[in-house]
């Protein structure tokens, strides 16, 4: 498990993103599983970037500087990320899906997260807890099982 604690500002965004990108490279590296697609890393990084933006720009907007606590668990067939902040909460259900035909200039962050990750959960409170999970494509996991890589099962938190 990778633990990271950073101030929740845009100044630290690049550092956090680079750690997540590095963690992505650990997924599928145990056993014979091979993660062939750069797309996996790109999509996780994209989703995490939007999560960080939401915290820095919205959650801690007009509030004292707060901390972001990040846990990252790169597994043999998935990556799991938990992000906790202590700023303002929001209701994901109240965030409308963007009308892509209208070429929106904002309001895309949650859509990107949901589109690129397999599971996105958000629990408002103190702290707000956002979890992002992305699994390797089935064909990659199947190939790994065929090669004898045991599956530990999906994390339940």
């Amino acid at each position: 498990m990778i633990h990271l604690r950073l101030p929740g500002t845009l100044r630290y965004r690049d550092l956090a993103v680079r750690v997540v990108a590095a963690a992505c490279k650990l997924v599928g590296k145990d056993g014979d599983l091979q993660k062939p697609e750069r797309a996996f890393d790109d999509e996780v990084v994209s989703a995490f970037s939007e999560a960080w933006n939401n915290i820095a720009i919205h959650s801690y907007h007009d509030q004292p500087l707060g901390e972001v606590q990040i846990e990252i668990e790169p597994d043999h067939d998935q990556i799991w990320i938990r992000i906790q902040d202590f700023g303002a909460s929001f209701e994901p259900a109240r965030v409308p899906a963007p009308d892509l035909e209208a070429l929106p200039e904002s309001g895309l962050g949650l859509y990107i997260m949901r589109s690129f990750m397999d599971d996105v959960t958000y629990q408002p409170g103190r702290p707000n807890v956002l979890t992002l999970t992305k699994r390797l494509p089935d064909r990659v996991r199947s190939a790994g099982r065929a090669a004898g890589v045991s599956r530990r099962g999906d994390r339940k938190k």
């Binding site: 965004r13 790109d42 994209s46 933006n53 820095a56 070429l103 929106p104 200039e105 895309l108 990107i112």
Partner: protein, 99 residues
């Protein structure tokens, strides 16, 4: 993020390198505003050296597209690859900017 602007007649090539995101997009705004103010007819945004883009960066390019189009001009995006290409495809912008 670094960027360069090259004008050749009615066409402008705006090349953006590195990361275009919530941190860096504001640095690009004055240049985008200038392109609009000058009523440039055709703008090619070269993203071949762009490593990362987020929704803020996309918003900056989409805003440029809308403003230039409203003036009768054209904005195209070239060189999309890797993470920026994934974002543009997800948001169905690859067709908008490359057609």
């Amino acid at each position: 993020m670094t960027f360069s602007r090259k004008d050749n007649g009615e066409e402008t090539v705006l090349a953006i390198e590195g990361a275009l995101d919530a941190v860096t997009a504001p640095d690009l705004r004055p240049t985008l505003d200038a392109l609009v103010a000058e009523k440039r007819r055709k703008i090619v945004v070269d993203l071949s050296a762009l490593r990362l883009i987020d929704s803020s960066g996309v918003g900056a390019i989409v805003a440029l597209f809308k403003r230039i189009k409203a003036q009768g001009g054209l904005v195209q995006v070239a060189g999309l690859r890797d993470q920026p290409l994934a974002i543009f495809r997800l948001l169905r912008l690859d067709r908008v900017f490359t057609s």
